[in-house]
Each structure stands twice: as C-alpha cells, then as structure tokens.
C-alpha cells in the first residue's frame, strides 16, 4: 500500500478556476519526490490536498450537477473542516463530502480524506508552509514546536523530549526560548521544519523550502532535510536542490501531471522543461 495514493484528482476553486485536473500519482515510504512546474501550476494546491486542508469532493463526481454547484460544495466543505460544528448548513455539506469518500481521489496511509480520518492523516503528512510567518504563530519557538505534539495529546514529558530532539535535529537547540520574530528567515524556516518533524510524520510535504534563503541558509536546510528518513515531496523552482534531494520528479503544469519519472531524465529533457516554463539546471548543461 502506497503512503499517499492520488487517483484522478480534480479541483476547482470557488471562483471557478481549475487548479487540478485528473492528477494521478502515488508516493511510497522513504521516497524523495520533487514537484516542479511554473507559478500557478497547482503545486501548493496539491500539497494542501495531501494534508486534507482542501476538500476533496470533486474527483470521481464528474457529471453530478453543474460545475458551479460543485464549486459551491467545495467551498462549504472547506468551511466545515476549518470551523467544525458551526451551522446546520455546514454539517449538511460535510455529509456530502463524507458520502463521496467511497470514490475518494486522495488516500493517505490507506485512509480516504474525510473528517473522521483527518487527525490520522495530518499525523501522517506534515506540511511545511512557504512563508514561515504563517506557520510560526506561537509566542516562543519552544511553544511552536510543541504545538503539534500537544494537539496529538502526547504527555508533557514526551512533548518536551520531542521539542529538544527536533530542535537539535535542525541545529537550533539554542533558540528554544527566543521569539519567532527575532530569528532570521533561515532560522525561522528550520523552526517550521522542527514544528512539523516533532509530529513524526511519514511524509513531509514542503512548499518552496529554499525560497528567500541565502546560500548558507539554503545549504543548512538541505543538510537537515537530507538526513531525514521519512518520505518527502518538495514543491520548488530550485531545480538544483531537487536534483540533489529527490530521485523522482513530478512535473505539473496547468493542474495536470505532464511528466513523472526519474529526476535525472526529466531535468535533462530541455524541450520538456522549456515547454513548461522551466529551464535546464546549470549543473546538467555542461555534462550533456
């Protein structure tokens, strides 16, 4: 059983924009997968699906009702997920989501994405956001790293142990008592990573991990990532980093999977890359 199984996933935003079309792929334990593609290709949207942040209700439901109704439903489902028991309306919508989960397009550790499975799914998939300020919302670094484990209901001793361990793993043992807004961008990115690693996910989903980092901070982050045993899916424009970190690449454009295969093959295919708004990594240019 693959860790993540996505079959024919389509998604449309409430405003009608088609973000994902018939996306199909699977990720196994321990794999390193690069997710590349131009801006607006749907990379972040896809990552949000893996964590159950976006409702998963339009795949396998083509033909039922108008597209507009589906979009409405998608939005309502999103609301019920985030706010939980708010109104009867929302409950009805989330029933719809559940009802469709038999034909669910995304399965994580074998579970379809639905309200009842969300805790287990979010435990299995750790999502690291692009902007560290979105993710570091606690007053101190220690509390932020402890946030996930505490939500998992772990005892205080275990939480404290994990905070110490993960901060050491990302090389930031000395900042536990600091405030997030006193840290550099690179440090903040690594604290975000620690906050997710503390939940001990089986798949780490990273959205542009090296964006806005100077070469040293980028290298530090990559060193930390390379040592992690868990599976990784990394959405990025940093093809050199993908080349180093991932053995497999998925190329996404206009919400569709355009290529899925070995990193060295896909990132060497200049016509393919150029056709989808990317370019040949410099390190591969000379060797060709």
């Amino acid at each position: 059983m693959p860790l993540v199984d996505v079959r024919d996933l389509s998604y449309r935003y409430a405003d009608g924009t088609r973000a994902l079309r018939h996306v199909t792929f699977a990720i196994d334990d321990g794999e390193g997968v690069g997710l590349v593609g131009p801006n607006g290709a749907g990379k972040s949207t896809l990552l949000w699906h893996l964590n159950g942040l976006l409702p998963e209700c339009s795949g396998h439901k083509a033909g039922q009702g108008s597209d507009r109704a589906k979009a409405e439903q998608g939005r309502a489902g999103q609301g019920s997920e985030s706010g939980q028991r708010h109104s009867a309306n929302d409950d009805a919508a989330s029933d719809n989501v559940n009802a469709s989960s038999n034909g669910c397009a995304v399965h994580v550790v074998g579970l379809p994405i639905s309200d009842e499975h969300l805790p287990a799914i979010r435990r299995a998939v750790g999502l690291v956001f692009q902007d560290p300020d979105d993710q570091l919302f606690c007053p101190s670094v220690r509390e932020d790293v402890a946030f996930g484990p505490l939500n998992m209901g772990l005892p205080q001793d275990e939480v404290r142990r994990r905070v110490t361990e993960t901060l050491a793993a990302v090389g930031l043992s000395d900042v536990a008592a600091r405030l997030p807004h006193h840290l550099s961008v690179g440090e903040r990115k690594r604290v975000c990573l620690a906050g997710v690693l503390a939940c001990q996910p089986r798949l780490l989903a990273l959205d542009e991990p090296t964006a806005n980092l100077d070469p040293r901070a980028r290298r530090q982050l990559m060193t930390v990532l390379a040592e992690l045993p868990c599976a990784k899916i990394i959405a990025s424009h940093d093809l050199e980093m993908i080349l180093e970190m991932c053995s497999r690449v998925i190329l996404l454009d206009e919400g569709q999977v355009r290529a899925d295969g070995s990193t060295t093959e896909i990132l060497r295919d200049e016509p393919l890359l150029v056709a989808h708004g990317l370019e040949l990594p410099h390190s591969l240019r000379n060797r060709a």
Binding site: W48, N51, L53, E81, S82, Q84, P119, R122, R123, G126, L127, F129, D131, D133, D134, Q135, L136, F137, C138, P139, S140, R142, E143, A146, F147, G148, L150, N151, M152, Q156, V159, R160, V163, L179, P180, H181, H182, G195, V196, C199
Partner: protein, 236 residues
C-alpha cells in the same frame, strides 16, 4: 528589515535579561499588582484625599506615580525610552479627550480632560513598567495560570506575534510607494489622505489573507479549537 520595526515600535525592549527585583518577581504577582494599581488609579475620584482644592490628582494617584517612578528607576528602564513611549500614548489620549471640552464648546470640561489624562497616563505607565520587566510569554503564562480563558490568552498571543509582521508589511507598502513618488507631497492633500486610506485597506486585505493561511497551518498540525499549553516550571 525585521529588527528595524521591532526596535522602532517595541514597547517591551527591556523585558529580557534584567536582574532587578522587578524582573525576577513572579509574573502572576506582577500582573495582579499592575491590575490592582490600574483599578485604583481609575476608580479614585480626584477629590478623594485631595492634595489641594482644584488639583485634579488624588493621594492614591500620587502614590501610584511614586510607585511607577520607583519601578522604572529600580528596573533600570531608561527614562528617555520610557517617556517617549508614554508620550506617544499621551498624544493619542489627548486627541481623544479633547472631545470632552469640545462637546461643551470649549467653555468647560478642562478639569475632566485633565483627570482623564492623569488616569490614562498613569495606567499606561504602570503597564509599561509591567511589560518592560516581564517577557511576554511569561505574562501569557501568568494570565493562563490566573484563570483567564484560553481563547483570550491565545488571541493576545497572536496579536503580539503578528503586530510586527503587519507593521513590516505596512512599511514595505510605504517604501514601495515612496520609491515611485517623484514629487514629494506638501502637507496633507486629498490625494495623500486617499493614499493612506488605500494603504490601510490593503493592509486589512493582506492581514485577512494571512489569517487564513495561519489557520490552515494550525489545522495542519492537528489544531481542533483547543489551545494546549506546555507546562512551565513553577517559579519560586
């Protein structure tokens, strides 16, 4: 980029690393003392134990003033910094309280205005002493321990966390605008006011977008509406 706005706007620059008695005291005691002091400042009429007839300050408020002075001095908070922050607050308070004599056509109400200023400034000075001798997360811990609802404490924590992020965004927008302003505006024109209003609107939109992403990040780490806390060791 970040440290700039932190230094320029921070109200608690001296909360960390101090070794004074006030810095070392239990945050719960400090919080309760500050709230108690503010209540007594606020609820004492100016004619209670008056110094002299006509002076809008009572004995209680004078004692509060003395306590604040002792606090600032003993905690080693620089007076220049302290008075600047107090002055900034005082200016806003003055503008607001001008509405009292304004409502009476500037024929009376000056004594009330003075009373409001005294109470407001003294209360704010008390808070300044509190936050400059207590790291914010210790203060949050104290609030939690004293039984404040978790949602309220978390809201205050989020406000403290994001105020600098928002100030930075405002600063970036301002800079981006001045980089494309070739004729500096003189005084307050309608165009200038309209620009300011637009900027505030943009900041609201950005803040709301960010709030959604932050919420998603919370859900992604298993948030279910309840704010769990890491126990911190008791202070002696």
């Amino acid at each position: 980029m970040q440290p700039d706005s932190i230094n320029r706007y921070s109200l608690d620059r001296y909360s960390r690393g101090g070794t004074s008695l006030l810095h070392r005291a239990d945050p719960r005691v400090k919080l309760l003392a500050a709230v108690g002091l503010i209540l007594s400042i606020g609820f004492t009429p100016p004619d209670f134990l008056p110094l002299a007839t006509g002076v809008p300050i009572s004995m209680i408020q004078l004692i509060a003033l003395a306590l604040v002075v002792v606090g600032v001095q003993s905690a080693g908070i620089p007076w220049r910094y302290f008075l600047r922050r107090l002055g900034g607050f005082g200016l806003v308070l003055l503008l607001l309280s001008l509405s009292i004599p304004l409502a009476q056509g500037f024929r009376g109400g000056w004594d009330v205005l003075l009373g409001v200023l005294v109470k407001g400034l003294l209360s704010f000075a008390t808070i300044l002493v509190l936050v400059n001798t207590t790291p914010f997360e210790r203060l949050l811990w104290a609030m939690r321990r004293l039984g404040m609802p978790g949602l309220l404490v978390s809201t205050i924590a989020a406000m403290y966390r994001y105020v600098f992020v928002l100030l930075d965004e405002l600063e970036r927008m301002r800079r981006a605008r001045s980089a494309r302003t070739f004729v500096p505006a003189r005084g307050l024109s309608t165009a200038e006011l309209r620009n300011g209003a637009t900027r505030i609107g943009m900041l609201m939109v950005r803040a709301s977008d960010r709030a959604e992403r932050v919420h998603a990040a919370m859900l992604a780490r298993g948030f279910d509406g309840d704010f769990p806390m890491l126990d911190e060791p008791e202070l002696n």
